[in-house]
């Protein structure tokens, strides 16, 4: 999302970076799915598949 559109004759208002991140709902959705998928599921599966099969 870009900075707020200025009214006629006004300077554009600079929106802080974190506010722009928090206003980007689909970026948050992406992060909220990818972070646990990588750190919990994929990392966990990688450890489980390395367990040797009992003879």
């Amino acid at each position: 999302m870009s900075d707020k559109e200025p009214a006629a004759g006004e300077e554009p208002v600079r929106i802080p970076f974190m506010q722009r991140v928090l206003d980007n709902h689909f970026l948050l959705l992406f992060l909220g799915v990818v972070v646990p998928t990588v750190l919990y599921i994929i990392w966990g599966i990688l450890e489980l598949v390395q367990i040797p099969v009992a003879p």
């Binding site: 928090l22 948050l28 909220g32 919990y40 966990g44 450890e47």
Partner: protein, 563 residues
């Protein structure tokens, strides 16, 4: 496209899409029905665990335990959360709801799935408990029902995200979305991960039950299943924290102390809260300590930091609002003069305190790899999650219902004197359930065993007599909680179906002259940090937290001497 119909709420001034209103009603009613069914099963479980009563035979006990977990942990809570998502998007943003037909399809899928799973459990061939670990196999339609429910809930989340897009494109709000909607967004994001994980593991398990897949690896199942099983409770946390802010705003006109900080705390939830699922696998030998410690003792603590920020911010916002209204005498006049007779406030405040002291502190203890070993797979675990999911989420949802009845159902709350007492009766019962189960678990009582006397077992084993006392007190607390639950059901049914219509503005408890929508439906902060009463309460919490944490390390050193 059909024209969207709106009404204007005389109390809040909010523009309400009638399709969204109908969907909120349908999801909330379905939620309460499943709460009633699941609560009944829960009472029968607690009475069986009370050794002097021992109500059910073993096969019925495990059946009731399975149904209790499914009906209250999944169906009651997620139906209500979908109602919250529609409320926080379409209603608070003054927007039309996206794709109402898809929202109704989602509701139909969820309802069908919930009923099918219940039928499967009651038929007696799916007594696999909420976790349904392989190699235990349930009937095919048990898994199918869960999959239908998950797909329906995912579609409902899609409707929520679509409504956010519509509201932004049609400029129904200015700047950023309000904090309550941001909390609901957090819940929806966690729900997407949760439900997708559920589908990923339940679809192959369903195929396995049909004989199309030869084997489901139990450890792989546990890993992925808990991404659903525990994260579904993190949807609850996000949703009920959002509702705490909503109730504070609607009753006091309270704004968060700092909207930026509170949104940052929700961001910690989005990034780290789901990783707490790992604490269910802390004693699994196949996973490394690095995986366990990172996911629990590092990432989970960042999510706990988020909860502690909310634990300061919500009462702090109420204190700031009360002080602005002139309740400045001493440290606690703002709290003494709070509307304790209003069930929306008392339910919310009780849940805030109990969630922190019972569910929160015990959750951190359970999430620590070393001290988890003391209580792993004991009754401490359900004691903890009754502190989070029942004292925290369910009591909060009950409190919110007392506002939804006049604002969305447009009915007066029936039996107001009964309603005044209901949160206290239910809260007292739930606090007892949580405390006494944790007490029994600390004494080693097994989490899932039908009979703690082991009367029919080939070997003798005796728990200490205090454990029996704990189980009796747990049974009595369950009776109190069931009475509170029954009071809630009676009030809701009487209000919704037979209550007097609300046509004019109603008085909640907000400061006169300030529109409620100004606090709950806009972005902004209280702009003060003069909250001495809240700081004292937070100090008490920290002392309790530190003491309890170290008591558990001391306990570990006694049962596991290092010589």
């Amino acid at each position: 496209m059909s024209k969207t119909l709106f009404r204007t709420c005389p109390t809040t001034g909010l523009k309400i899409d009638l399709s969204a209103q109908a969907l909120i009603k349908a999801n909330a009613v379905a939620a309460v029905v499943f709460l009633a069914i699941g609560g009944l099963f829960g009472l029968s479980v607690a009475l069986t665990r009370w050794p002097a009563v021992h109500l059910l035979p073993a096969d019925w006990f495990y059946l009731a335990l399975t149904a209790h977990g499914l009906d209250v942990l999944l169906l009651w809570i997620i139906f209500f959360e979908i109602a919250v998502l529609y409320f926080a998007s379409a209603i608070l943003l003054n927007s039309r709801i996206a794709a109402p037909r898809w929202a109704w399809a989602a509701f139909a899928l969820m309802l069908t799935g919930g009923l099918v799973t219940n039928v499967a459990v009651l038929q007696g061939q799916s007594t696999v408990m909420f976790t349904s670990y392989p190699p235990m196999m349930a009937a095919q339609h048990f898994y199918l029902g869960l999959i239908l429910f998950a797909v329906g809930a995912l579609i409902a989340c899609g409707v929520f995200f679509g409504t956010l897009v519509i509201a932004r494109d049609e400029k129904t709000y200015q700047g950023s979305i309000p904090l309550v909607t941001f909390g609901a967004l957090t819940a929806a994001i966690i729900a997407v991960f949760t439900l997708a994980s559920g589908a990923i593991i339940l679809i192959p398990t369903w195929l396995w039950s049909m004989g199309l897949v030869s084997n489901i690896d139990p450890l792989m199942y546990k890993l992925v299943w808990w991404a659903m099983g525990h994260s579904s409770q993190q949807i609850n946390v996000s949703a009920h924290v959002a509702i705490w802010y909503a109730i504070a705003a609607m009753l006091f006109g309270a704004k968060p102390l700092s909207e930026k900080v509170s949104r940052g705390a929700f961001l910690l939830y989005i990034l780290f809260l789901q990783l707490a699922s790992a604490h269910h696998l802390l004693v699994e030998p196949g996973l490394s300590s690095e995986w366990k410690v990172f996911n629990t003792s590092y990432a989970m603590y960042l999510a706990v930091l988020g909860s502690m920020i909310h634990g300061l911010s919500v009462p702090g916002a109420m204190e700031a609002a009360q002080r602005a209204r002139g309740f400045n005498k001493g440290i606690f006049e703002w709290l003494r003069k709070a509307p304790w007779g209003n069930p929306a406030f008392s339910g919310m405040f009780l849940s805030l305190v109990m969630f922190g002291f019972l569910g929160g502190i015990s959750g951190v203890v359970m999430g620590t790899e070393q001290i988890n070993i003391i209580i792993h797979n004991t009754l401490y675990v359900p004691g903890h999650f009754h502190g989070t999911v029942v004292a925290g989420t369910t009591l909060t949802f009950m409190a919110m219902t007392y506002l939804l009845i006049p604002l969305i159902f447009q009915r007066q709350v029936a039996f107001p004197k009964l309603a005044r007492w209901q949160p206290y009766v239910f809260g007292l019962g739930v606090a007892g359930i949580s405390l006494f189960m944790m007490g029994a678990g600390t004494l080693g009582v097994s989490r899932r065993h039908w009979d703690i006397t082991f009367a029919t077992a080939p070997f003798d084993f005796n728990y200490p007599p205090t454990a029996f006392l704990m189980m009796a007190l747990n049974g009595m607390s369950a009776i109190a909680a069931s009475i509170g639950g029954l009071m809630f059901i009676v009030i809701v049914v009487a209000s919704v179906f037979f209550g007097k219509p609300v046509r004019d503005k109603i008085i909640l408890a907000a400061p006169s002259g300030q529109p409620i929508s100004g606090a709950v439906a806009t972005y902004g902060s209280a702009g003060t940090l003069r909250i001495p009463g809240t700081l004292v309460l937070v100090g008490i919490f920290f002392v309790a937290f530190v003491l309890y944490y170290f008591v558990n390390w001391k306990y570990l050193s006694e049962i596991w001497p290092m010589r």
